[in-house]
């Protein structure tokens, strides 16, 4: 294939070709970044919480009776909830992964680093200290939520202490931490048996490590799993009862639970939005991300569609414009394949120029997004994939006009224009 004749033809259409190139470049740059954002969001949306999500439902209850002992109330409720047919386990917890309701504490690996952090009222920049989520819950939380122990043991019944009103937990002797927190606080040391310094409480002994336990609110990928479970009975008026049942039973169990709780004490609040399955909670948490994923995909498809139509439209024009010269070329011996390849090569040249510019723009756009939207760096392999996709898109869009051109009969050359 000779490129020279193509280049000399393109010189006659400099402006149009340049515009097409620019369009391909912008599309390539935007779509590369959009696909990257989609990948990031999908990763976020599919984060594992560590719970057996499909078997859990929750009822949030707020007691409004003055002077009531919340732990006594919770214990009574738990007994009644356990009696509902189909319920395999029930616990009272103060918060759950992705529930938004977060109690976070500065947590340190030693008294020394804890004192350092206390001196500046902040964990930021102190070695051996991190900000963690603390989850408290009644006995049997690990089993009910389906959390997987990878080391150590569950809490013993003697370790549980009631939390005071307004506090997440009491001065308990032990804690179970997530694997991510273990790696962060005690790298290479083994977390079991270590002491955990938190708040104004005596240090807690780490008795177990769970595989995964996501926080109530997501922050950054490095800190999303920094969580601590403590053997403390929730002491606030507001509590979440988590019910474990077969997935098919969830709707019925939820209804029965609300009815049971209302019957035990009608004078309390059971907000409708706090009564739902864990799947609903998860969907609600990621609603914005799923919307964004939809929008991103739609706009990427829209861009590709518009660009493909632009390429096809322009190629169509050029074919019509050059019908006579195509006829002449055919008359002097060019085969159909020659004509087809001519238009394909022309498209390849324009798209290639667009891809070169597009790759640069993609990196630039990514730098902007990193600066203003905390997006990570675009992996380099996106660029060749984006280039390949652009070429494929170009060739597919030019195929039909090029085929039409190749069907121009040589006899056209003899007709007047």
């Amino acid at each position: 294939m000779q490129l020279l004749p193509i280049l000399s033809t393109l010189r006659h259409h400099k402006l149009t070709a340049a515009l097409l190139m620019l369009q391909v470049a912008l599309t390539c740059a935007i779509v590369c970044n959009v696909v990257f954002m989609v990948a990031n969001r999908v990763q976020q949306v599919s984060l594992r919480t560590g719970l057996v999500e499909s078997e859990l439902s929750m009822v949030t209850v707020e007691g409004i009776t003055k002077g009531e002992n919340p732990q006594v109330r919770h214990a009574t409720d738990l007994v009644a909830l356990r009696a509902i047919p189909g319920v395999q386990a029930v616990v009272a917890v103060d918060s759950l992964p992705l529930s938004h309701n977060e109690s976070s504490y500065g947590t340190c690996d030693s008294q020394r680093s804890f004192n350092q952090a206390m001196a500046v009222y902040s964990m930021a920049g102190i070695v051996g200290c991190v900000n963690t989520t603390v989850y408290s819950g009644s006995q049997g939380e690990l089993a009910a939520l389906g959390l997987k122990l990878v080391a150590g043991r569950d809490f013993r019944s003697g370790e549980y202490l009631p939390a005071k009103r307004g506090w997440v937990f009491a001065g308990v002797p032990s804690a179970i931490i997530s694997r991510a927190l273990a790696a962060r606080l005690y790298p290479g040391r083994g977390a079991l048996g270590q002491s955990l310094y938190m708040g104004n409480h005596p240090p807690m002994r780490i008795v177990g490590v769970v595989d995964t336990l996501l926080r109530p609110r997501l922050h950054t990928p490095g800190t999303n799993q920094l969580s601590v479970l403590v053997p403390s009975l929730p002491g606030d008026n507001t509590v979440i009862y988590v019910l474990r049942s077969a997935p098919a039973d969830r709707g019925r169990v939820l209804k029965a639970a609300v009815a049971t709780l209302s019957r035990l004490d009608p004078d309390r609040l059971i907000p409708a939005k706090g009564t739902r399955t864990y799947a609903q909670l998860r969907r609600g948490y990621f609603q914005r991300d799923t919307t964004m994923i939809g929008l991103l995909i739609a706009s990427a498809l829209g861009l590709l569609f518009v660009t493909a139509l632009g390429i096809a439209g322009l190629a169509n024009f050029w074919v019509q414009q050059r019908t006579r010269s195509i006829g002449i070329r055919r008359a002097v011996g060019a085969t159909r394949g020659d004509i087809l390849r001519y238009f394909q090569a022309e498209n390849f040249l324009i798209v290639s120029a667009g891809v070169v510019l597009g790759v640069l723009l993609a990196v630039g756009l990514n730098l902007l997004l990193m600066r203003y939207y905390e997006l990570p760096r675009l992996p380099l392999w996106y660029l060749p994939v984006g280039a390949l996709a652009s070429w494929v898109l170009g060739q597919l869009s030019v195929l039909s006009p090029a085929l039409r051109a190749s069907r121009v009969p040589p006899v056209v050359a003899t007709r007047s224009a």
């Binding site: 515009l19 912008l26 976070s104 009222y121 307004g166 609040l269 609600g284 518009v306 439209g313």
Partner: protein
């Protein structure tokens, strides 16, 4: 200029429509491209517009919020917890209030109280309202249906009085004629002294950073001093930077939780208040309470404060950029297509030029053709934007219900579409009308 009359315009329009009809697929493609680009952009521009709108037209220019920096030198804020210095402590708020350096000033905080309706069968619920000082009502111009707000004397006496919103008054007591009646909020009785018309600035500029800015307005108002006296539940951030007990944190000098607004009418008053804040900070520093430079004290105008608070979620801004990027690609697409289309008609243009049409006439004719595409694209864009706004209204976010297009935005959409298509047609039309008549005839 005699050829530029309405007859020539209708002639150009006729030529344009004829030319567009000759290439229906291409025309449809261009209209679709501009419709999609405009529709997506206008959807997001409308959302941005309603989110950054002036909540108090006419008043916002005179409302300011003072901010002090009482934090210890070594304090480092955790970014997830917010900046403790964005609210005031009780002692500072009271000092600013008593100094009385502005024509109007008020301290306030959000409150949440449990309400047990008297009607049988009605379940208890939480109601959101505001604890404020007396100037809140005249300063913000809160409209009253019945009665009035409270006085500074009521503030000083920690009076058990309340102002209810129209809808809350109806919900609790069955009518708006409730002045003089007693209402039970939380665990205390309050005497109703006023009922406001339903009043809700959007965004709610005076609330704490943790509150929802675009959701429902305040249902009740209670004097701040009464709320502190009775230790009523506060709906907002308490940020402390020293040891504090839950029982005393409301009046602690090291816990911030109050919002503060002042009305300043002249530039001199504004400058004077700025100086007062610096002087106050210097005085507190001399007393050993503040540690940081007194010049850290700030006075924000209402709109500046909203800009500082950055109310537009980053997702919404990202969606706007995405829409604008899409519009840009669509426009480049149209420029290329129009260029090819116009240049292909060089022969026709050559003939018209040879018959005496001036460059200007050709340019105008092609411009009319571009504008026709723009008008059609604008109408399509309007439909797409309505669809887009409908989908945004279905989002669970608090700003969702605001996503409505008003008349200016509607005309703006059409104008933007026509401008965009005219811009896209500019270059192709210029290239096409520079065709030399003789040359074009020769090649025939």
């Amino acid at each position: 200029m005699q050829t530029q009359g309405p007859t020539m315009f209708s002639y150009y329009l006729n030529l344009a429509l004829r030319s567009l009809r000759r290439t229906p697929v291409l025309t449809a493609l261009m209209v679709l491209a501009i419709g999609l680009g405009i529709g997506a952009s206008m959807t997001m521009l409308t959302v941005l517009h309603v989110m950054t709108d002036d909540p108090m037209p006419g008043r916002s220019g005179h409302l300011y919020t003072p901010h002090l920096d009482p934090l210890p030198i070594r304090f480092k804020a955790i970014d997830i917890a917010g900046d403790p210095a964005s609210n005031l402590t009780w002692p500072d708020a009271m000092a600013l209030l008593q100094a009385h350096r502005a024509p109007r000033q008020a301290a306030m905080a959000g409150g949440e109280l449990l309400v047990r309706p008297q009607r049988t069968g009605a379940r208890p619920f939480h109601a959101d309202g505001r604890y404020a000082t007396a100037d809140f009502f005249p300063m913000f111009g809160v409209p009253f249906e019945r009665g009035h707000g409270w006085s500074a004397a009521d503030d000083a006496a920690r009076a058990r009085v309340a102002v209810l919103s129209d809808s809350f008054s109806r919900q609790l007591l069955g009518s708006v004629d409730t002045v003089g009646k007693t209402v039970r909020l939380g665990d205390h009785d309050f005497q109703v002294i006023g009922v406001t018309s339903d009043w809700q600035p959007s965004p709610m500029f005076y609330v704490d950073a943790s509150a929802k800015r675009y959701s429902d307005g305040d249902l009740f108002f209670i004097p701040l001093s009464t709320a502190v006296d009775l230790k009523l539940d506060v709906n907002g951030n308490f940020s402390g930077w020293a040891k504090d007990h839950a029982a005393t944190r409301m009046v602690s000098p090291t816990t911030s939780w109050l919002q503060f607004w002042v009305r300043l009418d002249t530039p001199a008053q504004v400058a004077g208040y700025r100086q007062f804040l610096v002087d106050y900070s210097a005085q507190q520093k001399a007393l050993g309470r503040f540690q940081r430079p007194p010049t850290n004290a700030r006075l924000y105008g209402l709109m500046d404060w909203l800009a500082h608070e950055n109310l537009v979620p980053s997702d919404v801004r990202l969606q706007l950029w995405l829409a604008l990027g899409f519009l840009l690609v669509c426009m480049i697409n149209i420029v290329a297509l129009l260029l090819a289309k116009f240049l292909r008609r060089s022969d026709e243009i050559g003939v018209r030029r040879a018959l005496g049409a001036r460059r200007r006439d050709i340019f105008l004719q092609l411009g009319v053709e571009s504008a026709a595409i723009g008008v059609a694209g604008g109408v399509l864009g309007l439909l797409i934007a309505q669809l887009g706004l409908w989908s945004i209204r279905r989002r669970p976010d608090d700003y969702a219900h605001l996503a409505q297009m008003n008349l200016p935005m509607l005309f703006g959409t059409l104008a933007l579409a026509v401008v965009a298509s005219l811009l896209a047609g500019l270059l192709p039309a210029w290239r096409a009308c520079s065709v030399a008549p003789a040359l074009q005839l020769k090649t025939q």
